[in-house]
């Protein structure tokens, strides 16, 4: 269990959460970011990494992933810390007004200010209907590969037909004792490269490829032991497995944030546009997750909100100090 202390805890490492590190950093406030995804970048990296964006000031066009890479370079001097692949679950207020944030992995962050930059919500895996699937979550069933080493020497079954299923099947074939890929269809429409590799590895006997089939049920005592498959002709078969990784994409859900007593208006957090503060002191909401009259869900708008948030959050982090406005051209970006 990790215990972290920081000035600002940012929930969501999308473009807006990342840029908030810069705006906070200029005012000497340290940030820790938490995201449920294993990588930074929010929607940009998860949904449209290779698409060009045309409305970022100063960039006639830039791909989504390039923008995220640039943001990471821009904030590097401020040494932000990250907990990735972890979902924020609870928020508790201490008597002095500061907060403790806890994740599903047991990480605990003590901070003076909470910034919710949660976008459309927590990216949650789409779960197929498999009998007893929930019983084995954390006991053999995982929806993402956080650490491939976890699967070393194990019998792993992957289900899905997209790029991530193909890529992980190829990768894990060198790590796991046995990799089986189960796909509903009989072809793969993902990147031709990855599909080709999977078929090659299947020919060499390094991957078991089971097409036109679905995983329908799981069995085991304390942990997963066996998977039941059903093919298109309604034939049932069983395979031994230590792990099942269903990979059917992600879809955002507001998640635990909905239960924190914030003013929520149609899945978004209502904020005061003076500083993007919420109805709860020391909690701000910026980017796609907030709403106010005239709100536009644009990266540009989220960046602006991050700047105003930082100016306002300063008083909680440095109650004794007076904030003076400075240009980066005059003072530079003094790291810490």
């Amino acid at each position: 269990m990790e215990q972290i202390t920081t000035d600002i805890c940012i929930i969501g490492a999308g473009p807006v959460g990342l840029f908030a590190v810069f705006e906070a950093g200029l005012l000497k406030m340290r940030c820790h970011l938490i995201d449920v995804l294993p990588q930074v970048g929010g929607q940009l990296s998860e949904i449209y990494p290779h698409k060009p964006i045309y409305d970022i000031p100063g960039y006639p066009d830039i791909t989504a992933q390039q923008l995220i890479d640039n943001l990471m370079l821009q904030i590097a001097p401020f040494n932000p810390t990250f907990s990735l692949g972890e979902r924020v679950e609870t928020l508790n207020r201490r008597e002095d007004g500061s907060y403790d944030i806890k994740t599903d992995d047991g990480t605990s962050v003590h901070c003076q200010v909470v910034v919710i930059a949660g976008g459309l919500g927590c990216f949650e895996p789409r779960k197929p209907e498999i009998d007893r699937l929930a019983d084995f979550e954390g006991k053999g069933v995982a929806y993402m590969v956080k650490n491939p080493e976890h699967f070393r020497g194990k019998k792993v079954v992957l289900a899905g037909g997209g790029d991530s299923a193909l890529d992980w099947a190829v990768f894990l074939s060198n790590v796991a004792e046995r990799v089986t890929l189960v796909h509903r269809g009989d072809t793969f429409r993902g990147a031709p490269d990855s599909a080709g590799k999977v078929f090659d590895l299947a020919k060499e006997g390094k991957i078991d490829l089971i097409l036109k089939s679905n995983v329908v049920a799981l069995t085991g005592d304390d942990s997963l032991q066996e998977i039941t498959l059903l093919d298109r002709n309604n034939q049932v078969s069983h395979i031994e497995a230590d792990h099942l990784i269903p990979l059917f994409g992600l879809s955002p859900k507001l998640g635990p944030i909905a239960e924190w007593g914030l003013n929520i208006d149609r899945s978004a957090i209502a904020v005061n546009t003076v500083d993007y503060s919420t109805n709860i002191e020391r909690i701000y909401a910026i980017g796609d997750i907030n709403t106010y009259p005239g709100k536009l869900k644009l990266i540009l708008c989220g960046f602006h909100e991050a700047a105003l948030m930082a100016q306002s959050a300063f008083k909680y982090v440095f109650p004794e100090q007076k904030l003076s406005f400075k240009y980066t051209t005059v003072y530079g970006v003094s790291a810490f």
């Binding site: 197929p128 899905g160 037909g161 509903r184 429409r189 994409g249 879809s251």
Partner: protein, 105 residues
């Protein structure tokens, strides 16, 4: 008017009336009619959160395009007549069609 019937995830059937000549996709119409579809990617055939199934209508509507198949392939459940609502332009020959909302996740 173009009259469609939408079967929501609870099985309820609701008529939707659309004026002729509007240049919208089925996803945009469903959103405007306050159906619960996320349409996270705004119609780029990337997110699959506008997944519908064609129940009744002209034959050509039953087959997804290649761009749709790429995305549908990543979902846990699809039907042969699964479509992405954002890839269906509203046209007059759609009068009388029936669609079912899928997914919900």
């Amino acid at each position: 008017m173009i009259n469609l019937t939408i079967i929501d995830r609870d099985g309820g059937r609701m008529p939707v009336e659309i004026p002729e000549g509007i240049n919208l996709s089925l996803m945009e119409v469903l959103k405007a009619s306050e159906y619960e579809i996320l349409a996270t990617c705004g119609g780029m055939a990337l997110c699959a959160t506008c997944h519908v199934q064609v129940i009744e209508g002209p034959e050509q509507y039953f087959t997804p395009t290649d761009a749709e198949l790429d995305v549908l392939d990543t979902l846990p459940y699809v039907e042969p007549s699964s479509r992405l609502a954002c890839q269906i332009r509203i046209t007059e020959d759609m009068d009388g069609m029936v669609f079912k909302l899928m997914g919900g996740d």
